[in-house]
Amino acid sequence: MTDAPSAPTPPAETAPASPAGTAPTPPAETAPASPAGTASAPPAETARTPVLQARGLVKRYGHVTALDGVDFDLMAGEVLAVIGDNGAGKSSLIKALTGALQPDEGQIMLDGRPVRFRDPLDARRLGIETVYQDLAVAASLDIASNMFLGREARRPGFLGRVFRLLDHRRMREESARHMADLKIGLRSLTQPVESLSGGQRQGVAVARAVAWARHVVVMDEPTAALGVKESGQVLDMIRRVRDRGLPVVLISHNMPHVFEIADRIHVQRLGRRVAQIRPGEHSMAEVVAIMTGALQLDADEQAVVADKEAARAIGLT
């Protein structure tokens, strides 16, 4: 039981015990670096296979069906927003995709290859990192410790192997580099994160996810607790993450944010995906109407009024 350091699992595969390896990698190479064996496939081929895909996921809690055969597609290099009313199954979907819950039916594919996640660690080992709402960081630990929490780097050789001595300096240096990559300005990496502002704290969580993610970054309401200026900073960060070639799944209630940053929008309703939308093609009001069931999309992706009263109530004709 006292064999404490057995808990943190070093990053799977060959990757160095640090997230450093991902930093200098040009965006184009991120996808083929997957363990799915697609490395030899031409880039065009990779682009068409969704990075993360789900088909017919079902999750029931007794009589309640949280997920009712939901599909999900995340393409390479995009920011995909997932929106939906309360109880639409957003968080169940995200939990299923990040290993926090196990679906009763259906299949999840990473780079076209079926995968099963028994717990969040499994998903993490395959390069899927999640920024959880309000649950991002350990308050009394410093930034570097948070960046490496659960994946600490030990000193090389005898000191690390036998005495389990942490390599504080290396963790600080690499943390500093990752924070700089996302242009997160900080006074010091040795201060506890509880002394940071909400935006900076979220920045630490995002930087950690980006540093370790090799496939997908999932962010659950990253701006929910933030002010306008700080939200803007987080949205900028998300753009930088995408520009580095990592696809981002963004769960948000904030329509202006979603329209500002998403390349595509996955609309979740009653446990299913009811629409996939490009922000330019529909108005915010239409999207909200689809989300609430007042509008439906027909086969040509044209909005069709499903509930006249509801549509009128939100000002659509």
Binding site: M1, T2, A4, P5, A7, P8, T9, A100, P120, L121, R124, T130, Y132, L135, A136, V137, A138, A139, S140, L141, S145, L149, G150, R151, E152, R154, R164, L165, L166, G185, R187, S188, Q191, E194, S195, L226, G227, V228, K229, E230
Partner: protein, 333 residues
């Protein structure tokens, strides 16, 4: 949020100043209190500032201090252990009785005592993790269980005529002309060991993270159940060492021992600046906290103050320490 109204602030200076960092380190206050107390008592008593007296103080605090190491681990996870004194008493009686009656060789008796104490700790940890139950209730129950077992097993008899290995830690060696017990040395080494484990290993970081928020720790991939059971088991093992220190210091197995040591160990942890809310504090602070209690008792005794005033002052210090912790947390928020 007011961020919309306030103009953007210029980024602050690079590193927080040394003074600021000192003030926010939770161990600085207790250390200052300890030093002030030492200065005060050395002016009021000729015998206070001597090697022999300090050796005595360490001997007086080593049992509670060692218990407080385990207590620190548990409080850092936002738990609390009311059963540590009773577990120690049972471990001590078990070691003493097995060895004195010759049931097993003395060293085997010691090993069994350590294991049984670790087992009590593991039982606490499993109940806290698996059921799960609040640590306060679990350890309150375990306090009674261990207390009762101690009296049943010993039939309320003090165990005497202990073989040499059980009292070896009570032997002394010399530093200059000061006699120091091996037990005192062992206690200091234990503090250093746990300071290292908490500050310099991944395990330590995980303990702090768990104390900050079990959910954050779990989502970061830390196996929180295993970690919690590990912490309680480790604490139990340390209580076993405290049992050996106790037996070696008194030279007997005493079923009445350790009845207020649970609260005394919490006192040491709190005086050392560790937060009862978990996730904040240092084990070296606990050593300082234990020494504060020891120095006040010893100094007031040397000044001829009645012992009940020592208790009074300890109580005031505890309330003061918790107040400081609470206020400093509020400032951070």
């Amino acid at each position: 949020m007011t961020a919309t109204i306030t103009p953007p602030k210029p980024p602050e200076a690079a590193e927080p100043s040394l003074a600021r960092r000192l003030l926010t380190t939770p161990t600085v206050g207790p250390l200052a209190a300890l030093l002030l107390a030492c200065v005060f008592f050395s002016f009021n008593s000729d015998q206070f500032l001597t090697g022999g007296n300090f050796s005595l103080i360490i001997q007086q605090v080593m049992v509670v201090g060692t218990l407080a190491i385990g207590q620190t681990l548990i409080i850092l996870t936002a738990g609390i252990d009311l059963s540590n004194g009773a577990i120690m008493a049972f471990g001590g009686i078990l070691m003493a009785k097995l060895a004195a009656e010759g049931t097993v060789p003395p060293l085997v008796a010691i090993a069994l005592g350590l294991l049984v104490c670790a087992g009590f700790g593991a039982a606490n940890g499993l109940l806290v993790t698996l059921v799960p139950l609040p640590p306060f209730i679990v350890t309150l129950g375990m306090l009674n269980v261990a207390f009762a077992l101690t009296h049943i097993y010993s039939q309320d008899q003090t165990v005497t005529n202990l073989p040499a290995p059980l009292t070896a830690l009570g032997e002394t060696f010399s530093i200059g002309d000061t006699r120091v017990t091996y037990g005192s040395l062992l206690t200091i080494l234990l503090f250093l060991l746990f300071a290292y484990l908490l500050g310099q290993t991944a395990w330590g970081k995980h303990v702090y993270a768990l104390g900050n928020s079990p959910e954050v720790a779990r989502l970061t991939g830390i196996r929180t159940g295993r970690l919690t059971v590990g912490v309680y088991t480790t604490a139990g093992f340390v209580y076993g060492i405290a049992a050996l220190l106790l037996v070696s210091r008194t030279g007997v197995g005493d079923p009445q021992a350790g009845q207020t040591d649970n609260l005394d160990s919490i006192t040491a942890v709190v005086l050392g600046g560790t937060s009862l809310f978990g996730g904040r504090g240092l084990v070296i602070g606990t050593l300082i906290g234990a020494l504060i209690v020891g120095v006040f008792r010893n100094g007031l005794q040397l000044m001829g103050v009645a012992s009940i005033y020592q208790t009074l002052i300890t109580g005031i210090l505890v309330i003061l320490a918790v107040t400081v912790d609470q206020l400093s947390r509020r400032r951070i928020r």
